[in-house]
């Protein structure tokens, strides 16, 4: 599979390394040349020696997308730090380049949900965090936090 990842931050670079390790062809596009260094964290050889591709450019620039190989991509991942950029470029990948699988990282839960319903595959880390936190609180409650443990009760007891 040929995987194109736009936005090579902590998330993008980790996914890129994992996909390369699993034997896929991986190309990364990022505005910041420095993000190349992040890709190589923990690697014994350079990103290119391991078969990876890295292009400097903006995701909204068609030339940059094409240089990064979007026309042959099987999977497109939009993981820049901007929701709006991710939503726009993943629609470009979907509609103009007809990439079979397109995934966008969207931090805003409301929009992640709406675009998901419009046929865009969105991943919402905020939603994951909300669910985990809620789950953790419920679990604590389930472990038998008694009314005596509430702050009000503690204050009462301390008097």
């Amino acid at each position: 599979m040929f995987v194109l990842i736009v936005g090579c931050g902590r998330v993008g670079s980790s996914v890129a390394r994992a996909m390369l390790r699993e034997g896929h062809q991986v190309s990364c596009l990022d505005e910041d040349p420095e993000s190349h260094a992040r890709l190589e964290v923990g690697l014994e050889k350079s990103w290119e020696d391991l078969g990876g591709q890295f292009t400097v450019g903006a995701g909204l620039e068609t030339e940059a997308l094409e240089a990064a190989g979007i026309e042959g991509a099987d999977v497109f991942i939009a993981s820049t730090d901007g929701d709006n950029t991710n939503i726009v470029i993943s629609q470009i990948a979907q509609k103009r380049y007809e990439v079979p699988t397109v995934i966008a990282r969207v931090l805003d839960p409301l929009r992640a949900e709406w675009y998901q319903r419009q046929g865009l595959n969105t991943v919402c880390p905020t939603r994951v965090a909300i669910d985990m936190l809620e789950g953790a609180v419920r679990e604590a409650g389930g472990r038998g936090a008694s009314p005596d443990d509430t702050p009000a009760a503690a204050q009462e007891a301390g008097k």
């Binding site: 909204l60 709006n84 939503i87 726009v88 629609q91 929009r111 709406w114 419009q118």
Partner: protein
Amino acid sequence: MYIIVVGAGKVGWNLARELLDKGHEVTLIESDRRRYLTVEQELEHNVSYGDASELWVLERAGIQRADMVIAVTGDDEDNMLICQVAKEKYLVDQIIARVNNPRNRRHFDLLGIKPSVSATDLILRLLEHEVPEYGLVHLLDLQEEQLEIIEMLLGKDSAVTGRRVGDLQMPEGSLLISVLREGKGFVPSADTVLEEGDEILAVLDPGKEEDLKVLFGPEGDGAGGSDES
């Protein structure tokens, strides 16, 4: 009409003021706190603070009952998505988006954001307007209708000066609609004789520009489309 304007920069602020003067109901949304406070001194409750990329901010501004949404922030992605959501989620009748970088225009088209307005493009067209002779100036593209309207200045060596409009072999799919002569415009008849310095307007199917350039261009520079023997 109820109009939501997003982005209280120079464009948005002046636009909101004009629309209010014309008696429309307007909400201007601005995401920069300091800018919001400045604009709020003048426009008061007509300005709302928030990031219009977020759905709840648009809903708080009453997007469900808006007749028109105009996105004029300095960020093309914002403008695209605000208009996309307005049109497709909230079914707002009319949207207008500002294009900051003309290179992004095709992305607006791809997402169906129409009309989009680019100041850079407008200025470029005005510049083109200053250097006409035989150069075509695109005045209007009617994309839905698949037509365009162009303007052209006839130089003294044009193949058609001194000829009757009725004798011109206009390319198929094109029509001469008006002649501007000495500051006055008129609709030509078959007997109108074209003169040097005339500015002509033509409506045409896309892709007919070259044929028209050949016909109206300098004589001998491509046969001139003459039917004389």
